[in-house]
């Protein structure tokens, strides 16, 4: 055998062994759970897996490996025979054995040097016949089940199996019942014993190591010199090929032995499953899904081959896109030749399907990661003296291999967290009125094109106040700042490095490095982490993950001639700031530009600045036209200029963890699914990019790293946040000085800054040239009245509505404005809130009530009863200072409605 072949065989052995070991662990745990009942199916499955490891390790000459697996096999054999009950103290060394085997298989060449003495001792303890089970506190005495080898108690019904073989029926019966196969081996002494340098006794010992000898044509005293040919009947759990391998035999020497119908209740052709249900002695849970599961043929494929396939599929998609584009632009081509269009269609379809399926080859069930958690939870609950159950839902949800690999550490961490910090001790749980055993639920499911993973526990929940104390003690924030946080924001403190609520640091967790790492890990995978928690009830961590990293939806943006892709997962919204609003909505705090967006300050970054893209010819772009601020001049600027889209700001609101920032780009195009290609080593150092991709037209575009850009531009979110809270404080202080329009004034009554939030205003007019606006919030109601109903007493006018007398204010009496047409027969009364329904302002016409944002201009019109003017619906509108007007009109204004002055 050539070295290379040997090597590849070894590799196969190692990867198979690793797979076997992976499957053994959950089976062992299941076995432990079911104790004292024993599912033969599970035992046999474990047995077979261990045995194939043992067999192959013998073949490769790994003695340690063979020794450990042999001992495990022996223990399992006794479990299978019902002599040993798989209590935790029996399963423990087996699990340790699995761990050890795992270590050995991982580094096979050093496996020989491992010290396995302790484990071997522990295992040997259970292989000895005189220790059917350890007399432990929780060991249950079970009637000893006869071993089929026990000749002295042999049944009285010998059956002739073969001309020469005699066997007791109950041996066969027993063998069949515990799910063993019965084989007859026909051997030639010279060929199969002496030529292979083994004696008859060696051969029988060999059989005994994998199963039970039932009968042999060689009698005991003949064993030193067996006849030229002989037959052996034996039972084992191993499948035929494994038996052949174990006994070093050829196929034709081994025959299946059909167990004859011995008893009506036990037809030999029964399947194991039926059999178990009818077996009175050993009660076994109905076999789980394994009998109904469809098993597909599988084939091992190298990952790099799959990756190459992926690349080609991606390429094909691009080529297809280009082809489609070319054909679409050439109408003649597609209309003239119908069959051509059909071919194109089928290429399109096939490409899509091909891509889908190739993507699927990289998908793996999340079970591959979940698999290890039962063991972790089991071990932790022992270590922590807690009772914890693990529930797993949705193990078949599939994820891209690369994501799955990145998921394993964060998930393990969170499971540990839940065990250690989440679930309380049984005593504490009882005190809290919960069941003593806690439950951790791992739930994977699809939602909105993403994978959601929920790790939930019914433990004590996160104590936000404890977090707060920690945060304050560590100087992360002040008490006042903490009090201002919402519940969610308080919870999010757990993502802060260095904060942990655990009172004591254990070796499991509590050091406070963890959740921040979890979050950064998940974010590297393009996912998000959310927390939910109710104190006393439990908490849940929700992970949102993309299905794959290889193809992600991105927003394509343009800066100058260049195009960049921004991952959609980071994109919260797109905002367009019109050129004439730029200077109203975008402010400067220190060095940074910020955008006011629904009450939040959004730090702004220009992509062209971050990336150092020079655009010499565009120096004037995005420069505000000052004329826009002049309501009169603005009328003279042609409409087209004001609306010119290229002077608008296009802003991407991006999320970086809990922070957000705005990225200014020239153009936002479409959201496209793009194929991610890794960065070459030569450009890996550029933090602003996370990858490259090929666009539909075949050109290369860079994929922006949203976090990298924030770092690159040295965005300091803390500064922005501090400023934001400072301003909020200011606004709070000046609560009395802000008014319904949302303008800010300082103590002296000077306008500070127009707060450009959406305002609901009532628009009305007396004269068609003079629209007025008043905040809707200051209006109590409107009354439609007829002019003839107005009564006058001296200079004052009144009207009776619903038996109430309302005094009328006419704007022209107090303001330098045009009068309404006195001939008007009808009009409206605007009843201000501050007037408590006793006064109304006469208006000729109500124009509208609408939500607008506008900018206050105080310079244009100065009137005591007006705040100023603003451009609303393209008209210069006068903003009425309601309280000043009422005061002037001699109306008593209740203090709570005291205006700004």
């Amino acid at each position: 055998m050539s070295e290379h072949q040997d090597d590849s065989l070894l590799q196969d052995f190692l990867s198979e062994s690793a797979e076997h070991l992976e499957s053994i662990e959950p089976d062992l745990l299941a076995l432990e759970k079911q104790a004292p009942q024993v599912s033969q199916e599970i035992v046999n499955r474990i047995f077979r897996a261990i045995h194939s490891i043992k067999g192959a390790s013998g073949f490769f000459g790994f003695e340690r490996l063979k020794q450990v697996s042999h001992l495990m096999e022996s223990v399992l054999m006794r479990v299978r025979d019902g002599v040993l009950i798989p209590h935790p103290h029996v399963v423990e060394p087996l699990l340790m054995g699995v761990d050890l085997l795992n270590v050995m298989v991982e580094d096979i060449y050093r496996s020989e040097g491992l010290d396995t003495a302790v484990l071997e001792q522990a295992l040997t303890h259970y292989t000895k016949a005189d220790t059917p089970y350890q007399a432990g506190s929780n060991a249950v005495t079970l009637p000893k089940i006869d071993s089929s080898t026990d000749e002295s108690r042999a049944n009285r019904n010998p059956v002739k199996v073969d001309n020469l073989l005699c066997v007791e029926t109950d041996c066969l019966e027993k063998a069949k019942r515990i799910g063993q196969f019965v084989y007859v081996a026909t051997l030639d002494t010279n060929l199969h014993l002496f030529n292979m340098h083994r004696s008859y006794n060696d051969f029988i010992a060999n059989i005994e190591s994998v199963g039970t000898l039932l009968a042999s044509t060689v009698s005991e005293f003949e064993s030193d010199a067996p006849p030229p040919t002989f037959n052996v009947l034996f039972s084992t759990v191993l499948e035929k090929d494994l038996v052949l391998h174990a006994l070093d035999l050829e196929g034709e020497q081994l025959g299946d032995y059909e167990v004859p119908i011995i008893d009506e209740a036990l037809p030999a052709t029964q399947t194991d499953a039926q059999f178990y249900n009818e077996t009175p002695e050993i009660k076994v849970e109905a076999p789980s899904t394994s009998t109904t599961e469809v098993i597909y043929d599988t084939l091992r494929v190298r990952v790099d081959l799959l990756n190459t396939l992926m690349d080609f599929a991606g390429e094909l998609v691009l080529a297809r896109n280009q082809l489609m584009r070319a054909v679409q632009s050439d109408k003649q081509l597609s209309t003239k030749n119908e069959s051509f269009a059909q071919v194109l269609d089928s290429i399109n379809t096939v490409t899509n399907q091909l891509q889908d399926h190739i993507m699927q080859t990289r998908m793996q069930p999340i079970e591959n990661v979940f698999r290890r958690f039962p063991r972790i939870v089991r071990d932790l609950s022992k270590q922590l003296n807690k009772k914890i159950q693990l529930q797993m839902i949705g193990q078949d949800v599939e994820l891209d291999k690369s994501i799955l690999e990145g998921l394993s550490d964060p998930l393990t961490h969170m499971i540990r967290n839940a065990c250690d910090h989440g679930i309380e001790s049984p005593e504490k749980r009882k005190e809290a009125g919960k069941s003593p055993s806690g439950t951790i639920t791992l739930h994977a499911f699809h939602e909105a094109g993403q994978i959601h993973l929920r790790i939930e526990d019914d433990g004590k929940g996160i104590d936000t106040n404890a977090l707060g104390r920690k945060a304050i003690a560590n100087g992360v924030m002040s008490q006042a700042e903490f009090d201002d946080l919402s519940h969610q924001e308080k919870l999010n403190l757990i993502f802060h490095a260095g904060l942990s609520t655990a009172e004591a640091v254990t070796d499991l967790s509590g050091r406070g490095v963890g959740m921040d790492v979890v979050r950064s890990n998940i974010e590297t995978l393009g996912g998000h982490v959310y927390l939910e928690s109710t104190l006393g009830k439990g908490s849940a961590v929700v992970l949102q993950l993309p299905l794959t990293l290889a193809i992600i939806p991105c927003l394509v943006v343009g800066v100058g001639e260049e195009r960049f892709a921004v991952p959609r997962v980071n994109l919260l919204e797109l905002v367009r700031v019109k050129a004439n609003e730029v200077h109203q909505r975008i402010e400067r705090i220190g060095e940074a530009s910020v955008l006011r967006l629904r009450g939040n300050w959004l730090p702004l970054v220009k992509l062209e600045d971050v990336l150092n893209l020079k655009k010499p010819n565009e120096a004037r772009r995005n420069i505000e036209d000052t004329r826009f601020n002049d309501p009169v001049a603005i009328e003279q600027i042609p409409e087209i200029r004001r609306q010119a889209p290229e002077s608008d700001y296009t802003l991407l609101v991006l999320s970086v963890g809990i922070n957000q920032y705005g990225l200014i780009v020239d153009e936002a195009y479409d959201i496209e699914d793009i194929v991610v290609k890794p960065l070459s080593t030569l450009i890996k150092n550029v933090r602003a990019f996370s990858g490259t991709t090929i666009m539909g037209d075949g050109s290369v575009a860079m994929i922006c790293d949203v976090v990298g850009i924030a770092t690159q531009s040295e965005l300091d979110f803390s500064g922005v946040q501090t400023e934001q809270s400072r301003r909020q404080e200011l606004i709070k202080e000046r609560q009395g000085t802000t008014n319904g329009y949302g303008f800010e004034f300082d103590a002296a009554g000077n306008l500070l800054s127009p707060l450009l939030e959406k305002q609901s205003v009532l628009l009305f007019q007396n004269h068609p040239q003079e629209p007025f606006a008043v905040p809707l919030a200051e209006v109590l109601r409107l009354e439609y009245i007829k002019a003839k109903n107005i009564e006058s007493v001296g200079t004052r006018e009144f009207v009776r509505v619903h038996n109430e007398t309302i005094s009328i204010i006419r704007l022209e009496q107090y303001l330098n404005v045009r009068t309404s047409n006195l001939d008007d027969e009808n009009g409206y009364l605007v009843l201000p809130l501050a007037g408590k329904g006793k006064v109304g302002i006469w208006v000729a016409d109500i124009i509208d009530s609408l939500e607008v944002d506008y900018r206050l201009d105080t310079d244009l019109i100065e009137e005591p009863c007006l705040y100023g003017s603003a451009l609303i619906q393209e008209r210069v509108t006068l903003l009425l200072h309601m309280n000043a007007l009422l005061k002037r009109a001699g109306v008593e204004v209740s203090p709570s409605f005291a205006g700004a002055f």
């Binding site: 260049e562 893209l613 070459s680 090929i694 050109s699 575009a701 860079m702 690159q712």
Partner: protein, 158 residues
């Protein structure tokens, strides 16, 4: 002694050569996408049938203002395997632009001369040897050093 082959090309007016076996392919110059913030050695990225190739700017490496790419008509794409020792991973497809492609030039190792000190403007680090031929002198580039230099420069985090 084995006969070896160089591929020769024109770069900024001088004739250069690199071992033929180090070349994966030669393609007409493609439109490239420049990478903002990358080190100056990176000229840009091209899409070579779905594979992204990083073009290294030789002018920048040579740091010779007199030696400039004149036409930039072809891209020579290197075989990554040939530069694995320098640290180029199999996925880091790398190439560079040249003015014109010359010929495949057979030579024997014994024909190579050490570069004379005053040969041309190039730093000795970038020259492996010179090959004298009736048609002129072929400067054999030390691509290994060039790749090393580029990779070294890419370690600085931007």
């Amino acid at each position: 002694m084995l006969e070896q082959k160089l591929i020769t090309f024109k770069f900024g007016g001088i004739t250069c050569g690199i071992p033929l076996l180090d070349v994966r392919e030669i393609i007409p110059q493609m439109e490239y996408t420049s990478v903002p913030l990358a080190m100056p050695y990176v000229q840009g990225l091209i899409n070579l049938r779905g594979q992204i190739v990083t073009l290294v700017d030789l002018t920048k490496i040579f740091k010779q203002s007199s030696l400039k790419l004149q036409y930039g008509k072809y891209n020579i794409i290197l075989r990554n395997e040939a530069y694995a020792q320098e640290g180029l991973s199999p996925t880091d497809r790398t190439g560079f632009s040249v003015d014109a492609i010359g010929e495949v030039l057979p030579y024997f190792e014994s024909e190579l001369d050490a570069p004379p000190a005053n040969l041309n403007e190039l730093d000795a680090r970038w020259i492996e040897a010179v090959l004298k031929r009736p048609e002129g002198i072929v400067t054999v580039l030390n691509m290994s050093n060039i790749i090393k230099e580029a990779l070294h420069a890419s370690l600085t985090i931007v």
